[in-house]
């Protein structure tokens, strides 16, 4: 594919176009991803998640600046929600990143979730592959503002940062069950505000309860818009990478992610195939009617769709 050749040659317009194809789930996207895949796996993918307004975009901006100063190239994917009613989206994460807009070593792309739950768009993982093949050393993936259960980022990132801020007492309680379990590093941003010690202590206490893990997630304080704590955060990320590599967990983690992704793709293919067959014969609609009239149930109907006689 010509676009893929241009991508591998470093053409940013081709990169942008390929991302659009992938995002639109265009027919050409599959072939492009096939051709791109052998060139992926080199980037370190860092996920940044946390509640709206905690400072994810500002942190991504400052981390980008830090990595650029270290001579690394950076790709950024910033996800914001799409409207469930119109499908439209206001993608505003770039506002905090515009100082990087003209840096040739940085490529920033905004994505709407396009109806997908979980904190990312359905195609974010594939967009990561495009930026990876494009040669970016570090890829920062910013999720939508998350609450409790949007944990898709673990399927996409090597290192997950969970960002919170002081005085979100209730939110910290709320993230205990879901998000607290996925953080490799916790960031208490806006650490110049009151009650920062309380926020840090609550996190530390909860983390100390997790006894089984080899990696104890550190809690890092930052003031992103002032650039405070960024170096410490980058060191924590580096330490996490080192830990993954030393323990041989890096490959294991990636294997697990590939397993999950393969299952997802398989699911999609099976559903698509079954539905296409069923739509031809009205079988699907007929079964829905039967379920509505209590003459059959979803489980029996699904089995029928899967094994049509």
């Amino acid at each position: 594919m010509e676009l893929v050749d241009r991508l591998l040659a470093g053409d940013r317009r081709a990169c942008a176009r390929l991302i659009t194809l992938v995002e639109n789930e265009a027919p050409e996207a599959k072939q492009a991803l096939r051709e791109v895949y052998p060139y992926t796996g080199n980037a370190h993918v860092i996920g940044v998640t946390g509640p709206p307004g905690a400072g994810k975009s500002s942190l991504v901006d400052k981390l980008t600046q830090y990595y650029r100063e270290q001579g690394e190239t950076v790709g950024v994917i910033a996800v914001d929600p799409s409207s469930p009613f119109t499908g439209g989206a206001l993608l505003g994460d770039r506002i905090r990143m515009q100082e990087r807009a003209t840096d040739p070593g940085v490529f920033i792309r905004s994505m709407g979730t396009r109806g997908h739950m979980g904190g990312l768009a359905l195609t974010t993982k594939d967009v990561i592959k495009i930026l990876d093949a494009f040669g970016k050393d570090i890829i920062l993936v910013e999720t939508v503002g998350t609450g409790q259960d949007e944990i898709d980022i673990i399927k996409a990132a090597d290192t997950v940062l969970v960002v919170t801020m002081p005085s979100l007492g209730d939110d910290i309680q709320a993230i205990k069950a879901g998000i607290l379990e996925i953080g490799d590093i916790f960031v208490v941003n806006k650490a110049d505000l009151d009650y920062v010690d309380k926020a840090v202590m609550e996190l530390e206490m909860m983390l100390d309860f997790n006894s089984d893990k080899g990696w104890r997630p550190p809690v890092v304080r930052t003031v992103a818009n002032m650039g405070v704590g960024i170096e410490e955060l980058a060191e924590a990320i580096q330490a996490h990478i080192g830990y993954l590599r030393k323990e041989g967990l890096f490959e294991e983690k990636r294997r697990l992610k590939i397993e999950m992704e393969l299952l997802e793709v398989l699911n999609q293919l099976i559903v698509k195939e079954v539905l296409e067959k069923a739509k031809k014969t009205n079988e699907f609609d007929n079964l829905v009617d039967l379920i509505l009239e209590r003459e059959t149930d979803c489980y029996t109907a699904a089995e029928k769709l899967l094994n049509p006689k």
């Binding site: 990169c15 942008a16 265009a26 439209g88 993608l91 515009q98 709407g112």
Partner: protein, 130 residues
């Protein structure tokens, strides 16, 4: 599933962004993906953002009177980056004779005060899907 993507940008130094935000919101409600980059953007930032985000349209909001300096720069830079196909629309206080000049340079639409948001939505939809 194709989506119309629009960059709404405020070039130059004026800080009046309510119009840009209202338009951004209207485009969102029309089902478009709107990338909003905030105040005080240079032409270089706007064009680079348009390329990376692969937008169909760049909407420039200018209330400072500097449109004859800023808009041609954006149009020129887009062309130089082989992105002359991206639709450019300008909103703000633009005198008629300037609007005519801008259109000759390649600006697709110029919208002054009193324009309904629906007009802008329709303009983008008809120019982009064509």
């Amino acid at each position: 599933m194709r989506k119309i993507r629009v960059l709404v940008a405020k070039p130059g130094l004026d800080g009046h962004d309510r119009g840009a935000k209202v338009v951004a919101r209207a485009l969102r409600d029309a089902g478009m993906e709107v990338i909003y980059t905030g105040l005080r953007q240079t032409a270089e930032q706007i064009v680079e953002t348009a390329l990376q985000e692969d937008v169909d349209c760049v909407g420039l909001s200018i209330l400072s009177g500097a449109h004859m300096t800023l808009v041609p720069k954006v149009v020129e830079l887009l062309k130089r980056n082989q992105a002359g196909d991206i639709l450019v629309a300008v909103g703000g206080i633009i005198p008629d004779e300037d609007a005519a000049t801008l259109r000759r340079m390649g600006v697709g639409g110029v919208f002054g005060p009193g324009t309904s948001t629906q007009e802008i939505v329709t303009f983008i939809q008809s120019h982009v899907s064509a």
